[in-house]
């Protein structure tokens, strides 16, 4: 696994720098043939997927050693990684579909790996399987429609034939593909599988799915929309942008109020993919408007964000896995106080959380900054649509950024700091070296991307520029310098400045403070006796203000039961408070759908009543009908 990941990463890096290679295997996959074609865009996804696989693979070694993985998982994991890496390398529609479904199959096996432990796993697996299947069919239809005028299914032919595609067919192809790929990227409203499947899978699988697999949804949108169909009208991309913005806000809102650590991370994936889709949408919009330089910038931002998201999501999911392994719980309300018991995991999660909350000098800050730059400079573009869409896009990103901060302060502060809120958390021990090595590797990547994004940015800008036929939008080694528009940012200098600032503050305090010694003391307990974990804020209470603010969107269900003492109804014996936060999109969209399916099934059973007369009657009536038709049409 690690080797495969490493191979993929290396191949990806090589391809990113422009060394394309392709291979055709007509003998494989009967009737269609396989064809692989790695170009720089594939390279990005190969490299990211490979890197995630390396970290997750190392972690998996540790997890296996702890007996966490069953043989089925151990067999399916390499296959999953393999197919994951083959998808971006596919050079024809048939190949892409084949690898895509192979990935779906292997990941499904992995998602349901822990089905014996929790009943939710089976349900999550079903949601995942069905949504993936639907998404696959959408992709298949969309891509095959796109390939209509092409002589065969290879990307080269499709690209060449796209010009002959009627606008209606191209739009149909794009929208259907968007639905299919978007569902894989967790795009609202096609997301419900994601917050189910990602938490229920073993954590290294979650990391692979959340950090590597979802990227392929974006890959598909970029590949089909920008590469194969060559851009298309502006409204396609406005759709992408709006859906991305909705996903981002909705995802992070659910994450902000949730208290299941892994589910929270899953929703955060929806958010981040939403941001990437905003960037991709902006790119397409700019390209359609003729501003290719900005399009390149937006796409660069998208690619960088994909990369940073992959890095920090790997860290976060793997650390969550380490916590889960140590405490047996994903519920933030039962965690806490892990800093002293699991120092490495805590530190890694801290790095990941910092990156995820898009605060400087975190990794995601750079990519979001790039995205914002693209949006800001795009406003002078002509037309009313950008004037409406871009500010709303910025607003959505802004809201997302704020809520992301709240989310990850909660996840880190409640989950790892403070006092343990349960016996399991109090008895937690640090995970083994292999697991920590996997986490540490990903955390290193986070730090590297945060401090030195300029290492990869010019390459990414090259790739993005190549796709939209523009010069690279970003250059610079120490600082990120935008080309064509004013804008400069140096994460390296920012870190240096912060370090200098910190050093001077520490020095200043040492200079000024009279007493250097520190004393350990009791926390202030209002004089009411020792503080206990029950007095601590929990994740639920932490998020309560936000939940109240957004109650109009979230539509939470709350229930307070007060039971009184028998002696007097003025004495309260117990108060129980329950809060449920149903996914509202799901309730509005999927519940009626499921209901309709159930009704269909119930009514449909009436077709098989057991009556042989009725069965024969079907044929008899059809025969008479057909014969009558023959008479009429003669």
């Amino acid at each position: 696994m690690v080797a495969a990941g490493l191979l993929g990463a290396v191949a990806g890096v090589v391809a990113m720098t422009g060394t394309a290679w392709s291979v055709a295997l007509p003998g494989l996959l009967p009737l269609t043939g396989l064809e692989f074609d790695v170009d720089p865009l594939s390279g990005v996804f190969l490299a990211v997927g490979g890197a995630v696989a390396v970290a997750a693979g190392i972690f998996a070694v540790g997890a296996t050693r702890h007996g966490l993985d069953r043989p089925g998982v151990q067999a399916a994991l390499p296959a999953f990684i393999g197919s994951l890496l083959l998808v971006p390398a596919a050079g024809s529609i048939g190949t892409l579909l084949w690898c895509w479904e192979l990935m779906a199959l292997t990941s499904l096996v992995l998602v349901v790996a822990e089905h014996r432990e929790r009943p939710a796993v089976a349900s999550a697996g079903l949601w995942y399987a069905v949504m993936t299947h639907v998404g696959f069919v959408a992709i298949m239809v969309g891509m095959l429609v796109a390939a209509g005028p092409a002589e065969d299914g290879s990307f080269v032919a499709v690209r060449a034939g796209a010009a002959d595609l009627s606008p209606a067919a191209a739009s149909l192809a794009f929208l259907v593909c968007l639905a299919g790929f978007g569902s894989k990227a967790g795009m609202v409203p096609l997301h419900p599988w994601l917050p189910r499947a990602h938490p229920e899978a073993p954590s290294h699988v979650s990391a692979l799915m959340s950090a590597a697999m979802v990227n392929l949804g974006v890959y598909g949108v970029v590949r089909v929309g920008i590469d194969l169909l060559g851009g298309g009208p502006s409204w396609w991309w406005v759709t992408v942008l709006v859906l991305g913005a909705v996903s981002a806000v909705y995802g992070i809102l659910q994450a902000a109020v949730g208290s299941d650590l892994k589910r929270l991370l899953g929703y955060s994936t929806t958010e981040n993919m939403g941001l990437v889709l905003v960037a991709v949408g902006a790119c397409g919009m700019f390209a359609a408007g003729g501003d290719r330089a900005l399009a390149g910038l937006a796409l660069t931002a998208a690619l960088l964000h994909l990369m940073t998201h992959a890095a920090f999501k790997t860290v976060l999911f793997l650390s969550a896995g380490s916590v889960l392994h140590a405490t047996g719980s994903r519920d933030l309300d039962a965690l806490g106080g892990l800093r002293s018991r699991m120092p490495v995991t805590t530190a890694a999660f801290g790095v990941g959380a910092l990156s995820a909350s898009a605060l400087p000098p975190g990794a995601a800050f750079v990519s979001e900054w790039l995205l914002l730059q693209a949006l800001i400079h795009g406003l002078p573009a002509p037309g009313v649509v950008p004037a409406v869409v871009l500010p709303l896009g910025v607003a959505a990103i802004a809201l997302t950024a704020g809520l992301a901060v709240a989310t990850f302060v909660k996840a880190f502060g409640i989950g790892f700091l403070g006092r343990p809120r349960s016996g399991a958390a109090a008895a937690a021990t640090e995970s083994g070296p292999a697991m920590l090595a996997g986490i540490g590797l990903a955390a290193l990547a986070c730090v590297a991307l945060a401090v030195g994004p300029t290492v990869v940015l010019p390459t990414l800008a090259d790739i993005a520029g190549g796709l939209v036929h523009a010069a690279p939008a970003v250059t610079g080694t120490v600082a990120i310098e935008l080309v064509g528009v004013t804008g400069v940012l140096s994460p390296l200098l920012l870190v240096a400045a912060s370090a200098v600032g910190t050093a001077s503050v520490v020095g200043g305090v040492r200079l000024l403070a009279r007493r250097r010694d520190r004393r350990r003391a009791r926390l202030w307990d209002c004089g009411a006796g020792p503080l206990s974990a029950r007095m601590e804020y929990t994740a639920t209470s932490f998020a309560e203000p936000l939940q109240r603010v957004f109650d109009g969107v979230l539509a939470s269900e709350q229930d307070v039961d007060v039971s009184h003492h028998r002696e007097s109804r003025y004495l309260v014996a117990a108060v129980s408070y329950r809060r449920a936060l149903p996914d509202r999109v799901e309730r509005r969209l999927y519940t009626p759908l499921l209901h309709a399916m159930t009704t269909w099934g119930r009514v449909g059973r009436g077709l098989a009543t057991g009556s042989v007369h009725r069965y024969l009657g079907y044929g008899f009536v059809t025969l008479c009908g057909l014969l009558a038709l023959l008479v009429v049409t003669r």
């Binding site: 009543t609 008479c624 014969l627 008479v631």
Partner: protein, 225 residues
């Protein structure tokens, strides 16, 4: 076969046989008393044999004559006998239980089916152009009537009769359109039909044994509703 060679009396006889074929089929739908139905069915088989016989006479074909004898023996003798034996085995119920569709409605349906058959068979008649092919619509009508019996009758034996009506109709169509469809096939078809009837007869007995009755409407063990 030369269509022009058929003499007027032969044509008349052919029409009579075909008419008898249709009439007996309609009568099967009309009646609900099983022994009567079986008698009508015997007449039906004989009419079929007669039809083939007339064709043989018209064509002066000894071969076809022998076939006619065979058809008469199987359709007018063996099969009705098998059915009678089966009826005796499955018990005392001698009347068709309440049919799925009432007799009056069935007869109206028969009228519609006959018209449909006549309309459908127009191209067949036009293609053949002989007196024999002019009777094909009757055969098609018999097939459709047989299907109607299959769809609406609840007694195991009635359904068997329906099946055999379909088969007789097809056989009639076969003889009326051309001289036949090859000896091997002909024999194979006859054997198959015979075997199907035997199988169904055995199964009817088993239904009687396991369900305790012969009403196919009660066969609702296997269903999804």
């Amino acid at each position: 076969m030369d269509p022009a060679a058929m003499s007027p009396p032969a044509v008349a006889l052919l029409d009579v046989a075909a008419g008898a074929l249709l009439l007996t089929a309609v009568l099967v739908v009309w009646r609900r008393d099983l022994p009567t139905i079986l008698r009508i069915f015997t007449a039906h088989g004989i009419a079929l044999g007669a039809l083939v016989g007339v064709l043989a006479w018209a064509q002066r074909s000894v071969e076809l004559g022998l076939v006619a004898v065979g058809v008469l023996a199987v359709r007018g003798g063996l099969l009705p006998w098998l059915l009678r034996r089966a009826l005796a085995r499955v018990g005392p119920a001698r009347r068709e239980p309440r049919p799925v569709v009432g007799v009056a409605a069935s007869l109206l349906a028969v009228a519609a089916l006959v018209m449909l058959a006549f309309a459908v068979a127009v191209p067949v008649v036009e293609l053949g152009g002989s007196a024999a092919t002019r009777a094909v619509p009757v055969a098609v009508a018999v097939v459709l009537i047989g299907l109607l019996v299959l769809v609406t009758r609840r007694h195991t034996i009635s359904q068997l009769v329906g099946f055999l009506l379909v088969d007789n109709g097809i056989t009639a169509a076969g003889f009326l359109t051309t001289a036949g469809i090859g000896l091997v096939v002909e024999v194979g078809v006859a054997l198959d039909v015979l075997l199907v009837v035997l199988v169904l007869q055995v199964l009817a007995g088993r239904i009687r044994d396991t369900f305790g009755e012969v009403d196919l409407g009660e066969l609702r063990e296997l269903r999804d509703r």
